[in-house]
């Protein structure tokens, strides 16, 4: 991957994330990796029931799996440039189910220089194979003036 440079970055530049195929197995693996064994992610019978006004119809992927994929995209982009992933805020918009393929992406929104460092704000989103946005949010990356990771 070509390393990015703070001065050359501009609003509208994009970051491409990896495609991720969601399956019952990937969700189960995420249970084991996160220790989040909520029946939302494991139990189809439980998921036949209603959640308030919502019925998911079957197990759903952990929302934090989206978060982990966005974070992976950001660190893979930032680390080669000596930049540091400092913040990520996300909200979930649609459930993700086995059989879906999701992909995170980012768009540079703004750059900011503060008294002691340099920052890049990135709009992030995860879309499914139908082009629906399933998660969205904002990230902040630090580009230390010395380009040294800390």
């Amino acid at each position: 991957m070509t390393s990015v440079n703070f001065d050359a970055l501009k609003a509208g530049d994009t970051i491409d994330g990896p495609a991720f195929a969601v399956s019952r197995e990937s969700i189960r693996l995420f249970c084991d990796a996160s220790l989040d064994y909520n029946p939302l992610h494991l139990d189809d019978n439980y998921m036949k029931g209603d959640f308030g006004k919502t019925n998911f119809g079957g197990i759903i992927m952990h929302g934090m799996n989206n978060f982990g994929l966005i974070s992976r995209m950001l660190t893979d982009w930032a680390l080669p440039a000596g930049a540091i992933h400092r913040r990520l805020e996300t909200r979930w918009l649609k459930p993700v189910k086995p059989g879906d393929t999701i992909r995170p992406a980012g768009t540079i929104k703004a750059k900011q220089t503060t008294a002691k460092s340099r920052w890049v704000l990135v709009d992030v989103a995860v879309q499914n194979q139908r082009g629906e946005t399933v998660a969205a949010g904002e990230a902040m990356l630090e580009f230390p003036a010395s380009a040294k990771a800390g």
Partner: protein
């Protein structure tokens, strides 16, 4: 709040129904009250499993020799390892495990990376709770520390509580 004894001796209970009755409902949750937490020793195996689950391949997390030559001077965990730490550092009766808890959004700030071998501690509380469109929300406030007392990361989240 004082930390409970380490859970190292007891295997992680994966049946979240088992202790469901011990957990606080939305009605019982007091904003501001510290949650009971457990110290957790983060292992390279746990980091590698997390990396596999989200497809992380960066050598900083997985290749000791490469990591040693890198900017952190050794292996680190990916920033989002707090996804695991949240459950690893809370006991079976914690309300994050209530079946039907729906994550409504999160924001996390990262200070320094967690490393394999770190003993991680958590300070956590509900900061707020509210009702919106007939749904019961709790706002979470979490800070993870390493064994030196350094902040690893801090986060705020919202969950919709089961009725």
């Amino acid at each position: 709040m004082a930390q409970a004894e380490s859970s190292a001796a007891t295997p992680f209970e994966t049946d979240f129904w088992k202790d469901a009755k011990l957990r606080k409902m939305w009605d019982d949750i007091v904003p501001g009250e510290p949650r009971k937490t457990l110290p957790y020793k983060l292992t390279q195996e746990a980091i590698a499993l997390y990396c596999r689950a989200v497809g992380e391949t960066n050598p900083l997390y997985l290749d000791e020799a490469a990591a040693k030559a890198g900017p952190y001077g050794g292996l680190i965990a990916p920033p989002a390892i707090h996804i695991l730490l949240m459950f690893a550092c809370t006991p079976a009766d914690d309300w994050m495990r209530s079946p039907g808890t729906v994550n409504a959004g999160q924001s996390w700030s990262y200070n320094i990376p967690a490393r394999p071998g770190d003993t991680i501690t958590l300070q956590a509380r509900a900061l707020d709770k509210f009702i919106k469109r007939e749904r019961l929300f709790v706002v979470h406030d979490n800070v993870f520390f390493n064994q030196h007392g350094d902040v690893i990361c801090s986060g705020r989240g919202q969950t919709i509580r089961p009725m």
